[in-house]
Symmetry: C2
Subunit: 314 residues, 2 copies
C-alpha cells in the first residue's frame, strides 16, 4: 500500500511517501511561489508527486491515496480550494487539476489544520483514541476534530474554526470581523502583541534583555523572562495561559475529546506552558470527579502532522 | 418493530410507544417523586413500560429498543446515571435495574438534551441532515450534537454542554463555577433576571404592565413590551439576542451543523426572536459567501423530542 501526503503551504510545498505504519519513508519539497498563478502551483504539486513516484520505482496508478493538506476554506467533497488568501486561490479545482496531471485516481483534499489533527490522531499525541482535537497556537489559532479516524468539519466542510470562537464578547478585534475571538488572545501573534505592550510600560523589565538576546520579541520572550523572575512577564504569561485554558475548557465542555493536543510554536514551551495550563483547566472543569477527563498533551509530529494526516484522509 | 422511549424528568416520567415512522402511537405518564429514593423511580419506569406493553398486546421481549432520556451526567456505555441533582441520583445503574424489572434486553440511556437533539434530527427540525445541533433555551442552555443519526458526546459521554461555553471571560457567574458561560446570558433564567433589573430602573416601563397581565415576570415579558414600543424592553431583547447569536456563531464556526434548531421556552417567541437573531448571525458569520451555511430553525417536537430521540438511540 503506497500513499502520498502533500502539504501545501504559503511558502513551501512538501510531498511525502507514507508507509503502512504511518512513517514517512521519503519526501521532496519545492517553493510555492503562489504569485506565479494557481496552475503553476498545481503543476508543481503534480511534479513533486511524479518525482517521488519515479524516485521510489512506483507508477502513479500504484498510489492508493494522494492526500493534500491546504490552507483556507476547502471543500473536500468537490475537491475545490474555495478560498485561500495566502495562495491567492478562489474556487480552484485542485483535485481535478492534480488528477489530470498525475494520473492518480484517489485524491482527497482537506484543510491543513484538519489534516494535522488527523495526523496526530493516527500517529501522534492522540494515537489510539476514538475522538481527539488538535489546537495549533501559531500566527492564528487553528484546530481540527477527529472522530473514529475521520476529520469532522461539518456538513459544508468548513468547521473546526476553533480560533474563531468568541471567549470575550466585545473584546479584542479579530481578523475575521468578530470581537473577542480566542485567536485574538491565544495565538502567538496575540502573545507577542501583549508582550510588546507590557515592555512599553516597563523599560526595566527583563523582557527587554531577552529581546536583545533573541534579536526580536517572540512568543518565547515573556516565558523566558518569567522564568528569570520578571513579575510583569509572569503576568503576561499568566494572562495568556488563562485565556488559553478558557478556550480549551470550552472545547472540552462541548466535545469531550479523549485527547486535546497543542501544536504550533507556543507548544514548544513544554512544561513552562503545560503545568500552569493544566492547573487552570482542572479548576474550571465542569465534570470534576465524574470519571475520566480529557488528556491535554503536546502534539508530537510537528510539521509532519499535515503530511501524515493527508495520507490518512477518508 | 416496536420501540419505547422514556423521558425521565424531575417531576414527570413519560413512556411512549414509537412506530417505524417515529410517530408516538401511545403514551403513559407518572409523577417522578424522586424523594422516594432511586429504586422507586426505576421501578415506576419499569411499571410504565410493562403497562404500555400490556395495553398494546406486546410482550417485553418484543420490544426491540427501550431508550431512556435522563437529566444530568449519563454514561451511555455503562448504563449508569452518574449524577443527576434533581433526581438525587449518583452513580445509579438505571439500565441494569430497568432490564431486571422489565425483561427488555436492549436498553440504552442518554442525557435528555442529547436525546432531544436526536429526536429533532430523526423526526423534527433537522430531519434528513447529516449533522445537526439542538440548543434548548430554558432554565439553562442545553444542547446536543448529532452526526450521521447518532449522538456525539465525546469519549466519556459528557460532552454537548453547550451552555457552559464561556462567551464573556470574567463575566456573569454561572452555576457551574465558571464566569461568563453562555447559559448565564442566553437561558430563560438569565433573560428574566435582566428583565427584572431593567424594570427596577424604569418604573414607567411597559414591562410592568405586561407583568401585571401575565401575573409574573417571564421570558416573554421583554419581548411583549418591546413589540408594544417600549425602548428599554427593546434593549433587553437586543442584548439577549446578541449574546444568543454570539454563542450560536461559535457553535457554527466549530461544528458547521447543517441545521441548528432552537428549543425550550424562549423559542416560542417565533419570528420576534428569529428575525433579529438571523440578522446578527449573518453579520458575524465567518464563511460568508462560501457556499451553503447552517440553517437556523425553531425545534418542532417540543416535549416529544426526548421520547422520540430515546427511541432512536444507538
Amino acid at each position: 500500500m503506497y500513499r502520498i501526503g502533500v502539504d501545501l503551504g504559503g511558502t513551501k510545498i512538501a510531498a511525502a511517501l507514507v508507509d503502512k505504519n504511518n512513517v514517512i519513508t521519503d519526501r521532496l519539497t519545492a517553493p510555492t511561489l503562489p504569485e506565479r498563478g494557481n496552475d503553476a502551483v498545481s503543476s508543481d504539486i503534480s511534479s513533486l508527486v511524479k518525482s517521488l513516484c519515479a524516485k521510489n520505482g512506483l507508477k502513479p496508478s500504484e498510489i492508493e491515496l494522494l492526500g493534500i493538506a491546504a490552507p483556507g476554506a476547502i471543500n473536500s467533497e468537490t475537491g475545490y480550494i474555495e478560498r485561500a488568501h495566502n495562495l491567492s486561490m478562489e474556487h480552484y479545482p485542485m483535485v481535478d487539476k492534480v488528477r489530470a496531471l498525475t494520473g492518480v485516481e484517489n485524491i482527497i483534499i482537506e484543510n491543513d489544520a484538519n489534516a494535522a489533527a488527523l495526523g496526530e490522531a493516527v500517529a501522534g499525541a492522540a494515537k489510539d483514541t476514538s475522538c481527539s482535537v488538535l489546537i495549533t497556537l501559531g500566527t492564528g489559532v487553528g484546530g481540527g476534530l477527529v472522530i473514529d479516524g475521520k476529520v469532522f468539519s461539518g456538513f459544508n466542510h468548513t468547521g473546526g474554526e476553533f480560533g474563531h470562537m468568541v471567549i470575550r464578547a466585545d473584546g479584542r478585534p479579530c481578523n475575521c470581523g468578530r470581537k473577542g475571538c480566542w485567536e485574538a488572545y491565544s495565538s502567538a501573534t496575540a502573545l507577542i502583541a501583549r508582550t510588546k505592550e507590557a515592555m512599553e510600560k516597563d523599560p526595566g523589565s527583563v523582557m527587554h534583555k531577552v529581546t536583545e538576546e533573541l534579536g526580536k520579541v517572540s512568543g518565547k520572550t515573556a516565558f523566558i523572562a518569567a522564568r528569570r523572575g520578571d513579575k510583569l512577564a509572569a503576568q503576561v504569561v499568566d494572562e495568556y495561559v488563562s485565556y488559553l485554558a478558557c478556550g480549551i475548557v470550552n472545547v472540552i465542555n462541548l466535545l469531550q475529546p479523549e485527547v486535546l493536543s497543542l501544536g504550533g510554536g507556543i507548544s514548544n514551551e513544554g512544561d513552562g506552558l503545560m503545568i500552569p495550563l493544566k492547573k487552570k483547566i482542572d479548576e474550571e472543569s465542569f465534570i470534576r470527579g465524574l470519571g475520566e477527563s480529557t488528556k491535554i498533551r503536546i502534539a508530537k509530529l510537528g510539521n509532519d502532522a499535515g503530511l501524515i494526516g493527508a495520507a490518512n484522509l477518508k
